[in-house]
């Protein structure tokens, strides 16, 4: 099994433009509409999470909202203790398949 060495190539950053290109290649839509659908996707996921609802995307992972209570933090520079207000945070839990793919253990399903 060949596992590409991450040090052998320069890692690049994939952006919205790459996602719309992928949509454009896969589905017969215009480039503009592909870009619009990528936005639409991100928008729906964001809205759902902002409502506090979990988004589960099978074989990819889930976005889970967690509520955190108040706790005492410390300004690392001055050492002054400050209360950290209760807040909601989002965590991403990768699926086993995604973890396997990242480690080169599962075949790409193109």
């Amino acid at each position: 099994m060949t596992k590409s060495d991450p040090a052998a190539r320069v890692a690049r950053t994939v952006t919205r433009a790459d996602l719309s290109e992928a949509v454009y290649q896969r589905v017969g839509l215009s480039r503009a509409e592909s870009a619009h659908l990528v936005e639409s996707f991100l928008h729906e996921v964001s809205d759902t999470i902002a409502r506090g609802e979990t988004v589960k995307l099978s074989s990819f992972g889930s976005f889970v909202v967690r509520s955190k209570g108040e706790r005492i933090g410390r300004n690392p520079k001055t050492g002054v203790e400050v209360p950290i207000t209760p807040r909601r945070v989002m965590v991403f839990k990768p699926s086993n398949l995604l973890k396997a793919r990242i480690n080169g253990l599962a075949p790409a399903d193109d």
């Binding site: 950053t13 919205r16 996602l19 659908l37 639409s40 902002a50 991403f92 990242i102």
Partner: protein, 96 residues
């Protein structure tokens, strides 16, 4: 919300598309992110968040049940950092 519900929702907002197309679109997006991470690339989606891969060195682990030593190979784990806009939106509403 699960993937099929997400597909349904996007399809409702884009009535000119078939459900099957929307499903393809969502899968194309998720596959692109997965493939990027598998290559070791970073995926940055402003306002939403960024996916990155972090490397974990090989280490000597322990089976918590038996206490036996096991060696854990080096591995890569996906990591997500929530974008600023989404982080702020999560805390817009009054907390109960």
């Amino acid at each position: 919300m699960i993937k099929s519900e997400l597909v349904q929702r996007i399809a409702e907002n884009n009535p000119h598309l078939y459900l099957r197309d929307v499903e393809n679109i969502v899968n194309a997006i998720l596959d692109e992110v997965t493939n990027a991470l598998a290559r070791g690339d970073r995926v940055e989606l402003r306002g939403f968040g960024a996916f990155a891969v972090k490397k974990r060195d090989a280490r000597q682990g322990r089976n918590p049940r038996t206490g036996a030593n096991v060696s854990v190979d080096e591995k890569a784990v996906p990591f997500f950092k929530t974008g600023k806009e989404l982080r702020e939106r999560l805390n817009e509403q009054q907390l109960g």
